[in-house]
């Protein structure tokens, strides 16, 4: 009996995990009886290993860190206060002659196209534009869109001023003079801000060399207007000039309007079309209601970086042939069908339908039009670059200048000894006099 008791107590001795031979055998037998395998003896070792590995081992358990209990704090850099100040209901008085921004109406067209900001952000943008119009006394202002940057984004507003701003100080004259404010590339002003509750900053007028340089440069915007553009050939200006040049290229390349809405005045300005004037396009028939906006609203930019060619110099040589000028692209030219992808129509309710065109040259530019009431809208939401024609090939630096190989080396004459001695004597006498005066 004592042998049996000793044997049982030996078998019941637990190891460091609390498992003994006795308890393990009990578990294995219980598993066999519960699972009833076909070949219990053949599967005995496997079952025993399985029971061993499934035993609870307190040392092997690592408790994962508890999840955060409170929501993370939103970094508050004053954004909340500025936003609350923007959204406060204020006086909505409009000055005479000012056309209020139409963003809230356009947002309905743009949302049907899937190209608009969220309703809250649209409303915030509308209030911000109204505030801008009041402070800067703008005749009309339009939400141009958003340029995405690496550190911050730019919200862009396109505005028409009642009076031109003061011209900047005269900088050094350049080869191609810029267009005057109110014409060509400088017909409209552009304001940018990194946040809608902050202050809008007006971008300077664009120069032709900035436009030419911008068509060679391809850099992400960083979100700070004074940042340098590091590229070769060097860009003449900071990020604000690069941004203004890209905005000019986007606006003059992707702002569309429906065909029958505007007409060119005799001076070349775009004005609302008079339906009774001769030569006016008839209003759209029902089959044409799904026609997209198909005319450029602004003039096209030429290769020299202006919308208009330079006036020819007055003193022209009678024998010299006239310079080859690129033909100007007036406003209201029809679009190139290969540059735009037409999508739609989508129902808008009330028998109206929206069609929209997406630019294939400037990804992010959308033109939406609804023909029944003749409404249209344009928006740009993107990084601010056109589609790359191919992989970027930065230009190499210019070759190092060498000596002129045709010039013969010329020996320089040394200074005569008397002159050299005279110079040394003068310097010594001047030092002597200075020492005597002290």
């Amino acid at each position: 009996m004592s042998d049996k008791a000793e044997a049982v107590s030996f078998l019941q001795r637990p190891n460091e995990k609390g498992v003994s031979v006795y308890s393990h055998l009990t578990d294995v037998l219980a598993t066999i009886l519960a699972s009833n395998p076909a070949d219990a003896l053949g599967a005995f070792e496997a079952l025993s290993a399985k029971v061993k590995s499934s035993s609870f081992d307190p040392a092997a358990v690592t408790v994962p860190p508890p999840p955060p209990t409170t929501a993370p704090e939103v970094p508050d850099s004053g954004w909340l206060e500025r936003d609350a100040a923007l959204l406060k209901p204020g006086s909505e008085d409009e000055a005479d002659g000012q056309i209020p921004p139409s963003l809230l109406d356009d947002a309905r067209l743009l949302d049907a196209a899937g190209a608009s900001l969220s309703p809250e952000e649209t409303y915030r943008a509308h209030l911000s534009l109204c505030a801008l119009q009041r402070t800067a006394k703008l005749q009309s202002v339009r939400f141009f869109g958003k340029i995405l940057g690496t550190a911050a984004d730019y919200y862009v507003a396109e505005a028409r001023r009642a009076e031109p701003p003061e011209p900047p100080e005269a900088s050094e004259p350049s080869a191609t003079p810029a267009e005057e404010y109110g014409s060509g590339c400088n017909a409209l002003s552009y304001f940018v801000t990194p946040e809608l509750g902050g202050t809008w900053e007006e971008l300077p007028s664009v120069t032709p060399e900035a436009i030419v340089a911008a068509s060679r440069t391809r850099k992400f915007f960083t979100g700070s207007l004074d940042a340098d553009i590091c590229c070769f050939p060097p860009f003449p200006g900071t990020e604000r000039h690069y941004l203004r040049a890209q905005l000019a290229r986007i606006a003059h390349g992707t702002t569309l309007c429906p065909s029958h809405k505007y007409a060119l005045s005799p001076e070349g300005a775009v004005e609302p079309a008079d339906p009774e004037a001769e030569g006016a396009l008839p209003p759209p028939t029902s089959s044409q209601l799904c026609e997209p906006a198909s005319r450029h609203k602004n003039m096209g930019i030429l290769a020299i970086g202006r919308c208009t060619n330079l006036p020819s110099p007055e003193e022209a040589d009678a024998d010299a042939p006239p310079p080859q000028l690129e033909p100007e692209k007036p406003a209201l030219l029809p679009i190139e069908a290969s540059d735009w992808a037409l999508v739609g129509p989508a129902a808008l309710g009330g028998g109206a339908a929206v069609v929209w065109s997406r630019s294939l040259r400037w990804p992010g530019a959308i033109a939406v039009s609804e023909a029944k009431e003749g409404r249209y809208a344009n928006l740009y939401l993107g990084y601010g670059h056109p589609v790359a024609a191919g992989p970027m090939r930065p230009s190499p630096p210019p070759p190092i200048e060498g000596d002129d190989p045709t010039a013969e080396p010329v020996e320089a004459e040394d200074m005569p000894l008397d002159d050299e001695n005279a110079a040394v004597r003068e310097a010594a006498e001047a030092a002597l006099r200075a020492g005597a005066e002290e």
């Binding site: 929501a71 993370p72 936003d83 809250e120 995405l148 391809r218 992400f220 294939l360």
Partner: protein, 243 residues
């Protein structure tokens, strides 16, 4: 991402029209039921020359690989995209033009637009797809499953790339290996190719990829997802464009 979260990305321009959003609210759950998937997510919108494609991804057992993709043009009737063989992948890699907009368009020989479409989707998915750190855990079957204890990462917390697995470290415990099995997304070259910012209006952290312009991921509390809205082209000049 979920169709309901799409408005969080409207601020960066990844938008889907109202008609498509409403259609996807019912067509994606139908797709999930018909194909018996764990989940179906709106993946993105690829633009062709004459039309757009909406893409949805179906998750079977793993949330990081082995997904099936569907496309449609109207948001209602979805069709499954084919699985590419190696030859077809190599042929698609050699094509330089973009999408045409018509799914039956023949590119060359046997290669059609649907092959190019699924090739682009798979490239973006393997290269750019991200999730917040800690959102996924490794299942013993080898796939990734959502972590039920995930309650959001603080803004300094990073992102992990779904397409790149970490080699299992035998010196770490099994539970640590299960929780941390994907490479951090910041290891993407070039440095600065991923930009992560908090949108103060919604409180969501939005990650945008400069290598695949049009790819955006968001993380707000326990909700996260990603969406691609572009033409499927990789920005190979990104290193030259960063200052």
């Amino acid at each position: 991402m979920d169709v309901d979260d799409l408005e969080l990305l409207a601020t960066v321009g990844a938008g889907v029209s109202l008609a498509h959003r409403s259609a996807m609210q019912s067509s994606l759950p139908l797709l999930r039921r018909n194909y018996k998937l764990s989940a179906v997510r709106a993946w993105g919108k690829l633009s062709g020359r004459t039309g757009d494609y909406l893409i949805a991804s179906g998750i079977r057992s793993s949330w990081s690989e082995d997904k099936i993709f569907f496309f449609c043009a109207d948001g209602v009737s979805w069709a499954q995209l084919p699985v590419l063989s190696d030859d077809e992948s190599a042929a698609c890699a050699a094509i330089t033009g973009g999408l045409e907009g018509d799914i039956a368009h023949v590119l060359q020989g046997e290669l059609r637009e649907e092959h190019l479409l699924v090739y682009m989707v798979q490239q973006i998915e393997s290269d750019a797809a991200v999730a917040p750190t800690g959102a996924l855990v490794l299942h013993p079957s080898g796939g990734a499953v959502p972590n039920p204890a995930f309650a959001g990462t603080p803004e300094a917390g990073g992102w992990v790339a779904l397409g790149r697995r970490k080699p299992l470290d035998p010196l770490r415990s099994a539970s640590e290996n299960r929780a941390d099995f994907l490479m951090p997304a910041e290891d993407t070259l070039p440095k600065g190719g991923l930009v992560s910012r908090v949108d103060p209006a919604t409180g969501a952290t939005i990650l945008r990829s400069l290598v695949w312009p049009g790819f955006f991921a968001f993380s707000k509390g326990a909700r996260y997802g990603y969406f691609y809205c572009g033409d499927g082209a990789k920005n190979a000049d990104v290193a030259l464009m960063l200052s």
